[in-house]
Symmetry: C4
C-alpha cells in the first residue's frame, strides 16, 4: 500500500519549515524552580539566545527571505519583549511554547491550560493577534494535553513524530517534528553532559541530506532550532549555506507552520493519504497469553 | 589455525541478510506495562514505523529485488495486520520477535514459551505457514531460552554475536548479528537520551565498509534495522544507495535468514569450520587461586 | 536590531584568544580530596600535562608567535614551578584558576577568597606581578563569586558564555568562553566515561570552521585547551595546522585575555553594542499564573 | 625546556607497539562473579575474540611481518590454550593481564600477587618462558600494585599514560598507553551502552593521524586492541590498510613491548630525557589555605 503523494501548497513537491524554540533562560528556570539553581553559568550560556543568537537568526532569515515560526515561552515574551517584537515585525509567526518551558507531562490539565492562557496574553499583547499553534517543551505530550490544546481553540500542534507530513488528531492538525532535525541533541552541552557538541560542519552536512531526502520523497522537513544553540556564528554560517542551496527550488514549499497547518485543514478529514491519526492504546492488550487481545 | 572458507549458498563468496525488527509501539508498551507510561510522544515516534517506515522499506526492497526477513512481535501482528500481510505478500520471511518485545532475560521458560506460541498463532493466521526463526528483543539470551526455542521446534535463532557465519547451538542454527550493523545504537534517540542520532550519511558510509569487508573476508553481513528508524526518508535513501551498489555482485549471496539457516543445517554437524557452538560457563572456574580450575 | 560591529584592537575585524587551563593533577585531587582516590591511573594521565604537554604547547606558541593566556591552579604553581616559570619567561599571561581547581559553586565566599589569595601569592612569587584575571574551574559561576572577584581587585573573568565579544559585569570585564571551542568535552576520557575522545582531525576541522566564522561575523573565538589533552602529539599537530592558517591574517587580532579585557575596559560602560551584562533572576517570576510577574 | 629526542632502538626516530588485550569472556565473568550474569548474549559477543578475531589478527600480523604483544588473562590461557599456543608459535610476546581481568584497584596486594603468580604458571606452561610484563585491566593502577609487580620480578608495566615514551617507576619500566589509541572506548558496545561503535573508517583515519604524529614528534604510538573488537572483518581491514602504510618506514621502530622496555632499561636511570617517574601525592597538600604546603 504505497502512500499517495501529499498535495503540498502551491503544487510543490515537498515542504520545509524553519522553526525556532526561543527558550532562553526558561528551561533552566523551570528545572531549578525549587532551589533557584546554583548560579550563573548555564543562565549566561542560555542568554546568548536573546542577546545575540536571535538577531543572528533574524539576519539569516531576512537574507534568505524565509518566513519562519518561533515558539516562545511566555516568560521569554515578558522578559525579552524587544526581541519578540522584532520577530513579529519581520513577519514571522509567533506560537506557544509553555509559560516557562513546562513539559505537559509535568502539569495537570488545569495548570497547563492556565499557563498557556497566560502565554497567549503575553504574546497577543505584542502581536495583536492570537497565536494558533503550540509546540510542547522537550516534545513531550499526553492525551490530556491534546484535549487542552483543542479546548483553547488552537489550530495546530507541532510536537509529535508520527508521520513525515501533517496529520489530524481530532480537531487539531499535527505538523510533525523529528529528533534528527532538532539541533538540541547535537548542539546542547552543559557542564557534565556526556557528549560534546557536534561540529557545525557535520550537522550541516547531515541536514543537507535530510532536506534532499524530503525533496526526493515528497515529505516535510521540519527544522527545530534554538537561538542560544544554532544562533552562534559557526552554526549560523553552516546553516545559511545549507538553506541558501535549497530555498531557490520552486518545487520546495517554505513557510510558517501555521500556513502549512491551515493548508492541511482545508484538505479535510479523513487524512488524504489514508493514515489515521494518533489514538490511545488499550493497555490491557499488551501482555500475556491469558490477556484478551 | 586459519579458518576454512565458509561454503555460502550457490558457490558465492560471502553473504548479506537484510533484516528488520518491526517493533513499532511494542518496546514502549513492554517497558511501561506497569504504569502505561506518560504519554504520546514516544508512542507516536514509534508509530512512524507501521504508518510510513515499513512501506518505505518495502518500496526499497522491491526496487532492489531483495528478499528480506522481518522479525515481528505478536502485538504488532495483531494491531497492524495490513502491513504484516503486505510484507508476506511481497515474498519476505516473517519470523518471531516475542509477543510484545519481551527480552528472554525477563521471562521464565513457561512464560517465554506461552508468549511465543501466541505469536506463532498470530503470524500463521496471516501467512498460513509456521515461522521457523526467532530474534530476541535487544539481542538478549539465556541458556533456558535456547531450550525453549528448540522445544518449540524452531529451526534458527538470530540474536547472538559469537561468529561471522552461521553456527550450531545444539539443534538450533544460529545466524549471528552484530551491533555495528544494527541501526538502533546509531539512530534511536528518545527525549533525554545521552547521544544524538548519527547522520544518515555517516552510517551509510560505515555500512558500505562493513559489506565490503564481508565480501573480502568471505563472511556474513547481517543488517538489523527498524522501520521507525531506518524507514525515514534520509536514511532509506542513504541505505538504498549502499545496497544498490552491492546487490548486483554475483559473488554475494543475498536472501532470507531462514534460507541461510537451512543451507547451514544441510552442511551438517559438526560445524564445517571447526568452531564449536555456544556453551555455558562453569562459574567456579573464574576466580581465585584456591578455586579448582 | 542588528548589533553594531565590535571595535576590536588595532582596527582588526575579529579576535582570537588561545588559552590553556593548566590543570595537571589538580581536578583529580580536588574530586578525591576526601579519600585520596584509588590510585595512579588518572594521576599519571593528567601528569602528561606538566611533563610533556605544556612544553609541546609552548613549542607551538613559539613557532607561531602567539601570545597566550595560561590559567593555572595554585597547587600546580607550587608543584610544577619550572613549567610555570617557562610560560612566564616566554611572555605569556598567567592567570587564576583556583587553588586546586575548586569550582566556585562548591565554596562559600570566604573560602573562595582565601584560596584565590593564596593562588595570587604563588603566581606572583614566580612572575613578580599580580594576576589580573580568573577562569572558573569547569566554567561554573555564582553571583557571590563575581563579587569575590571584584573584591580581590581582579580586572576580568573568562568563564561565562553570554556573548561572543567582551562584556561588562559591574566592575568586571567578562571575556566569554564557549563549550564548542573547549577541548575538554571532546578530548577528555577517563576509565568508564561514556564517550571516546574525538579524533584530532575531526576537532581541528571543527575549530577551523569556528575561527572562520568569527572572522566572518566579527566576533571573538576563545579557544580553551588543556596541556594534558591538547598537548599530545597528534592533537598539537592538528591544532598547529589550523592556527598556522589564520595567525597571518592581519584582520584577526590574536593576544592575551588580559590585553583584550583592558581594551574593552577602555571602551567604557555602557556596553558599546548595547547588550547589558549578567544579572540575577527574580526567582518569583518563573512559575504559575498566580505568580506576580 | 624542550625535551631531548628519545633514543629509539636501532637509531630510529619513533616507535610503534601493536598490542592486544586478549580478554575474551574474562571481563564479563569477573563483573558477574557474584551472580553469574543473566546469560549468553555478552558471553557470545566476547567469544568472537577466541573463535575468530584472534585468528584474523594473527593473519594480519603475519601479512605485515609485525611482532606484537598479547596481554592474556590466565583464565583465557586455561580455556583457549590452542589460540595462545599459536600466538606464541608465531613469535609474538605473551604477557600478564590478571587471572580473570581483575583490576588491581579491586584486589589487595596478596590477592593480586596470588592471581598473577597463577597466571604466570598458566602462561609459562605453554610458552616455556616466564612473562616479563603486565598490563592492568581497564588501565587501573595503585601504588601497592606497582610494588607487587616489582616484587614478582616483572620488568615492565604497560598501563599508565604519564608520557609518550618509556619511563622508569623505581625498578620497573613503564611503557605508556593512551586512551586515544585504545579500541575499547571506540568499538566496545553492549546492550544499553550510551554510544554506538565508531565506524571503522573513522577510527582508522584517527589512528593514521596518531601514527603520523608519533613519527613527526619522535614519540611512541602504543596501539591497544582487543580481538573481539578489532578482530572483526571491517575493522581488521581498515587497520591493515593503516599499518601497511607505515611498517615499511625504516625510521619507525616496530616491535614488542618487552623489547622496548629492555631497550629503555639499558639507557639506565635517571630518565635520559630528564622526566622523573611516577610518585605518590602528598594528600595534605591539596586543599585549603590553612593546610601546610
Amino acid at each position: 500500500m504505497a502512500a499517495a503523494r501529499y498535495p503540498w501548497p502551491r503544487d510543490t513537491r515537498s515542504a520545509l519549515c524553519v522553526t525556532f524554540d526561543f527558550d532562553g533562560e526558561a528551561p533552566y528556570l523551570w528545572r531549578n524552580r525549587a532551589t533557584g539553581g546554583d548560579g550563573a553559568a548555564e543562565l549566561e550560556q542560555r542568554r546568548y539566545g536573546p542577546r545575540r543568537g536571535v538577531y543572528n537568526v533574524l539576519g539569516m532569515l531576512d537574507e534568505l527571505r524565509i518566513t519562519a515560526t518561533f515558539f516562545v515561552p511566555g516568560w521569554i515574551v515578558a522578559h525579552h519583549p524587544a526581541a519578540v517584537r522584532e520577530i513579529h515585525e519581520q513577519g514571522h509567526e509567533l506560537a506557544l511554547h509553555g509559560w516557562c518551558h513546562e513539559p505537559p507531562t509535568e502539569l495537570d490539565a488545569v495548570r497547563l491550560s492556565d499557563t498557556l492562557q497566560r502565554a497567549v496574553g503575553a504574546l497577543s499583547d505584542i502581536t495583536g493577534v492570537l497565536p494558533v499553534g503550540y509546540r510542547s517543551p522537550s516534545f513531550q505530550m499526553t492525551p490530556e494535553a491534546i484535549d487542552v490544546l483543542i479546548g483553547l481553540g488552537l489550530r495546530y500542534d507541532s510536537s509529535l513524530m508520527g508521520d513525515d507530513r501533517p496529520y489530524r488528531i481530532g480537531d487539531l492538525v499535527e505538523v510533525p517534528v523529528d529528533w534528527a532535525t532538532d539541533d538540541a541533541p547535537y548542539y546542547r552541552y552543559r557542564a557534565g553532559d556526556p557528549r560534546p557538541p557536534m561540529p557545525a560542519g557535520q550537522l550541516a552536512a547531515a541536514w543537507a541530506t535530510e532536506i534532499d531526502a524530503a525533496r526526493l520523497h515528497g515529505t516535510l522537513c521540519m527544522l527545530t532550532m534554538h537561538p542560544w544553540l544554532s544562533g552562534r556564528p559557526a552554526r549560523i554560517d553552516q546553516l545559511t549555506q545549507v538553506l541558501a542551496g535549497v530555498v531557490a527550488d520552486p518545487d520546495l514549499w517554505v513557510g510558517s507552520v501555521a500556513a502549512l497547518a491551515e493548508h492541511h485543514r482545508l484538505l479535510g478529514p479523513p487524512d488524504p493519504t489514508g493514515v489515521s491519526g494518533w489514538q490511545d492504546v488499550d493497555k490491557d492488550s499488551i501482555g500475556w497469553p491469558d490477556d484478551n487481545t
